[in-house]
């Protein structure tokens, strides 16, 4: 898996040539809606077979970026190459090799599960026989075989999401784009979906995933960029980002019904972050930090020592938490 050092990607903005052989490559890519700058001159390269994440809060510009990669939305400025082609000139040809799982399901609720796949496969000009064969495999993959003849409307959110993924795979795309694949799903449905995405990854499908869930990015992405306000704030592998932007462990303290005693916690660990509902202390050794808290006779209602996560990275980059 090609791994870049995050340092080289964070170097001051000197624009290199788009990477040859990348599945998707952007330089100075921008999207504006009137006055609003949704995507602000971003650069990235997505390599063949990798799983690449765009992580950020709502409104960071992730979906706009996805829609430009999926050739559904023309870029305002910059260069963009997808599967070696220019979306401005060869959008239909690119789209014939892309699978898109949009943020909002666009399934036909009146049609059956199977018919949704048949109809979508025909958009790609696939022969009925081919779609039927693939649909059988994809329904098994999405654990929907028993629901094949049911209309979509009454299916659960998780089932609809899995059907949307199956639908995006019916054309056997070279690049699968998933825009917030698990938003709004319960934990069980999420884990099932992650498992399915793992399988695709193992089969060598290039995945592009947007998410505002840190654990999802950590689970699924080989490399990712953290987006904030239309820009890329940092990029690298999940572990490299944690190494670079966060400590090894985090001690979380909760205080019930009282303000956190900020001044009495100062100097513990590498950084103390006071959030509305809790205090985060970044440290190499959470237990020692906790000992120090007790030694200073601070009495939190509860505490927790955990590995630091991408959420901590986001916090240290932007000073804000991700809002669900």
């Amino acid at each position: 898996m090609p791994v870049r050092s995050s340092a080289s990607l964070d170097a001051p903005q000197r624009r290199s040539e788009p990477a040859a052989g990348a599945v998707c490559s952007a330089r100075g890519l921008s999207k504006r809606f009137g006055e609003l700058v949704a995507v602000d001159e971003i650069d990235f390269d997505i390599e063949l077979g990798e799983s690449f994440g765009f992580l950020g809060p709502n409104g960071a510009g992730k979906t706009s970026t996805m829609r430009m990669i999926a050739c559904m939305s023309p870029r305002t400025a910059g260069t963009l190459s997808v599967l070696g082609m220019d979306p401005d000139r060869e959008g239909a040809a690119i789209r014939s090799r892309i699978g898109l799982v949009p943020q909002e399901d666009s399934l036909d609720l009146q049609l059956t599960v199977l018919d949704n796949l048949m109809v979508y496969g025909r958009y790609f000009d696939l022969p009925t026989k081919v779609i039927r064969e693939r649909a059988e495999r994809l329904l098994a993959f999405a654990q929907l075989t028993e629901r094949a003849g049911d209309t979509v409307d009454p299916l659960s959110g998780g089932m609809k999401r899995r059907l949307t993924i199956a639908r995006a795979l019916v054309s056997e795309p070279d690049l699968l784009i998933l825009d917030e694949p698990t938003t709004g799903l319960d934990p069980q449905a999420r884990h099932l979906l992650w498992d399915r995405l793992y399988r695709l990854k193992r089969q060598g499908v290039t995945l592009v995933i947007t998410t505002h869930y840190m654990d999802e990015a950590e689970q699924l992405c080989d490399r990712l960029v953290v987006m904030d306000k239309g820009r890329i704030a940092a990029s690298g592998t999940p572990s490299a980002l944690i190494d670079r932007y966060s400590s090894k462990e985090v001690l979380e303290l909760r205080f019930l019904g009282e303000d956190a005693p900020r001044e009495r916690l100062e100097g513990i660990g590498e950084r103390v972050e006071v959030l509305p509902d809790r205090v985060l202390i970044s440290t190499a050794d959470g237990d020692r930090a906790l000992d120090e808290v007790h030694r200073r006779e601070v009495e939190p209602a509860s505490w927790l020592v955990r590995r630091s996560s991408l959420e901590d990275v986001f916090l240290s980059l932007t000073g804000r938490t991700l809002v669900d």
Binding site: G91, A92, Q110, L111, Y123, D125
Partner: protein, 272 residues
């Protein structure tokens, strides 16, 4: 900047099995298969009810007191008017809520545009589907009219394309309107202030000269009047070809203008 996303016209990839717009038509047909029975039933039931009530009921009264209207029994006068008006209604029905649903509620158009299909394919497929619905409903209407004995000329076969063109004039303009709407509130206004007055005042039920003179230009300006005029000339066999030419040109112009507006508004709405 002209982008591929906005490119217009029917396009084929080399060796394509089915033109893209036909794939869209095929989708509409798939959804229709789920409701075809009720749809087909109402296609026949509605002309039977209208012709029975308006023509036979009201018509016998009129024939008794007034005699013929425009040289034919009232039933033969009103039937082609209803044919054109039903084409308008069918076209409007398929161009308001279904278009809004495909843009906003079910997002079918976005699903299509994530595949090799383009806005032009989506639109051509939409109009192909509306045309298919118009053919079905007009054929049903003409069949029922024949059964009621209101077809007076072999030229009546021309009433079929006339009704379809009438429908397309409405389908194109109303679809363009729908693509500009944020929600479905405007549709009630279109029905109340547009379709219903047209239905009542476009010489559907009585000859134009019954209306006060100042209303004539308004009637002339509406597409339905021309559709009614065409259908009526063809089914009664009393054709004034000069007048028919004007009607055709008018309906054709409205349809073309509507399609151009659709191209503009659909692209603006769907490709952002």
């Amino acid at each position: 900047m002209t982008t591929d996303l906005e490119t217009w016209g029917i396009h084929y990839a080399q060796g394509a099995r089915m033109p893209p717009s036909l794939r869209v038509l095929r989708y509409h047909f798939s959804t229709y298969l789920r409701t075809w029975r009720s749809s087909l039933t109402s296609s026949f039931l509605s002309p039977v009810l209208y012709l029975a009530a308006m023509g036979v009921g009201l018509g016998s009264l009129i024939n008794h007191h007034v005699g013929t209207v425009g040289g034919v029994p009232y039933l033969s006068f009103v039937a082609p008017g209803l044919l054109a008006a039903s084409a308008m209604q069918v076209a409007a029905n398929d161009s308001m809520y279904p278009v809004m649903a495909a843009i906003k509620w079910i997002r079918t158009y976005y699903a299509m545009l994530a595949t090799p299909l383009r806005v032009s394919d989506v639109l051509i497929g939409h109009f192909a589907w509306v045309t298919a619905r118009l053919v079905l409903s007009a054929v049903a209407y003409l069949g029922v009219m024949a059964a009621f004995g209101t077809i007076h000329s072999p030229l009546a076969v021309l009433a079929l394309p006339a009704a379809i063109l009438t429908g397309l004039a409405f389908a194109s303009t109303i679809s363009a309107f729908s693509a500009t709407q944020k929600n479905d509130q405007g549709f009630a206004t279109v029905s109340r202030l547009g379709l219903i007055p047209l239905f009542l005042l476009s010489a559907t039920f009585f000859p134009l000269h019954q209306l006060p003179g100042w209303m004539h230009p308004i009637a002339y300006a509406t597409p339905l009047f021309h559709g009614v005029n065409l259908c009526r000339m063809f089914t009664t066999g009393q054709v004034d070809w000069g007048s028919a030419g004007w009607d055709l040109a008018y309906l054709g112009a409205v349809s073309v203008a509507g399609v151009l507006l659709c191209a503009r508004f659909f692209t603006r709405r769907l490709v952002v």
